[in-house]
């Protein structure tokens, strides 16, 4: 049995980049003293999302045993997937390391990258860019729809992110790492809305895209492939679901 209840609504922060500052309500109903102007939630709010399971507080639970047959996935997928959660606690944007514009020039200078950086490749990392021809890497860092990695790169460049050392910066709850090549390409590493897919999770996602979802044909392919286990398909299905709702 999944341990999260559909009635257990969790706080989901609004993540974005700042433009102006005026007090406003957070999605949890508390007043954020350092609000950010972008009103778009980067992940659906629990109330707005058709599957409340996506907002439960626990990470993926009850992966279940491998089943054969057409109905093995949807049951798992509806009950067990979690996006992010706070255990019901109100979380302000500041708590989550969201960028603010009230940073002193000294602070900005301290956090500014010392070398050139360039934005992550959208065609590689954006969930909506993955298509039926996409090929996996060993690890595949995927960014959920609505996250503007280009804008966050610019904020990092201007010193509004927190430098974590070792060529890493955190902004809006996400950690980016810089590759030491000429262009200084940034890679989304972890945090809110960043998923790291294994090779076969990525392949399962590509299969779902190719078949237009968890269709009978897709299920037949999954059943023939022992590396595409229920756990693997579940991860892919959750992302496919988010991608489709974009």
């Amino acid at each position: 049995m999944p341990s999260c209840q559909k009635t257990n609504m969790c706080a989901i922060v609004w993540m974005s980049s700042p433009v102006s500052v005026s007090p406003q309500l957070t999605p949890t109903g508390t007043v954020d003293p350092h609000p950010l102007p972008h009103p778009e939630p980067l992940v659906p709010t629990p109330a707005a999302h058709p599957f409340n399971r996506l907002a439960c507080s626990d990470p993926v639970v009850d992966r279940g045993s491998r089943q054969q047959g057409p109905d093995r996935l949807p049951t798992h997928a509806r009950d067990t997937v979690a996006l992010s959660g706070s255990g019901g606690q109100a979380i302000t944007m500041r708590d989550r390391g969201v960028a603010t514009m009230d940073r002193s020039p000294e602070d900005r200078e301290k956090n500014r990258p010392k070398h050139r950086i360039s934005a992550p490749l959208r065609s590689r990392h954006a969930l909506e860019s993955i298509n039926r021809n996409s090929r996996p890497n060993n690890r595949n860092s995927v960014v959920l729809p609505g996250i503007d990695t280009g804008r966050e790169t610019e904020l990092i460049r201007q010193g509004y992110a927190d430098s974590l050392g070792n060529n890493r910066w955190r902004i809006n709850g996400r950690v980016y790492v810089r590759k030491g090549n000429e262009r200084g390409t940034l890679y989304p590493e972890s945090g809110e809305g960043v998923r790291s897919l294994s090779r076969f999770e990525f392949k399962a996602l590509v299969l779902l895209i190719s078949f237009g979802g968890y269709t009978e044909d897709a299920q037949r392919q999954f059943a023939r492939d022992d590396l595409l286990t229920d756990d693997v398909v579940l991860v892919a299905f959750e992302l496919y679901d988010l991608r489709s709702k974009k």
């Binding site: 021809n133 790492v177 590759k179 076969f200 023939r224 492939d225 590396l227």
Partner: protein, 162 residues
């Protein structure tokens, strides 16, 4: 059970592929099956046979390493380095993997096994690999490294044909 993707710079017949990987694994050629990437039906029936030690699923892409092989093995943690090094030597092809690079986040980095036994980190254009029609296209610097490692006979052939 283990699976990964590798990329070769040269095409080989299915017989040669099966023979090379069987030799490196130390098993009979019959225990290595080569099939098309899209043939899920064959994958299911082949892998159900416990005598099959390895499955190679082939597909193609644009660029410098046009042969894609998804390899599947029964064991969970095979010695990939030994496997790829041996296969590169037997097939006379350079083989790319992204399993053994330093930082798995850096998706433009690949480890190349050459027929001569060299193992080198090279970089490919990430944009090309993420394109609608993916390709592995070496960066100019890595291309120089790659070309310098080609066997003399191949270098001559390349020069003559260009």
């Amino acid at each position: 059970m283990y699976g990964t993707d590798i990329y070769l710079d040269q095409t080989s017949s299915t017989t040669d592929l099966a023979s090379a990987f069987a030799q490196v694994l130390g098993v009979s050629t019959k225990r290595v099956v080569v099939m098309d990437q899209e043939d899920y039906e064959q994958l299911g029936s082949t892998w159900a046979n416990p005598k099959i030690a390895m499955v190679l699923r082939t597909s193609s892409l644009r660029g410098d390493f046009p042969v894609a092989l998804e390899i599947r093995l029964r064991e969970d943690t095979p010695d990939l380095r030994t496997l790829l090094s041996g296969a590169a030597r037997l097939l006379g092809a350079s083989i790319l993997t992204d399993e053994l690079v330093v930082n798995p986040l850096f998706t433009s980095d690949w480890l190349m096994f050459t027929p001569d036994g060299d193992v080198i980190v090279i970089e490919a254009d990430e944009e090309e690999f993420a394109a609608d029609e993916p390709a592995i296209v070496l960066t100019p610097e890595s291309r120089r490294v790659y070309e310098a490692r080609q066997r003399p006979a191949e270098r001559l052939a390349t020069t003559a044909s260009s």
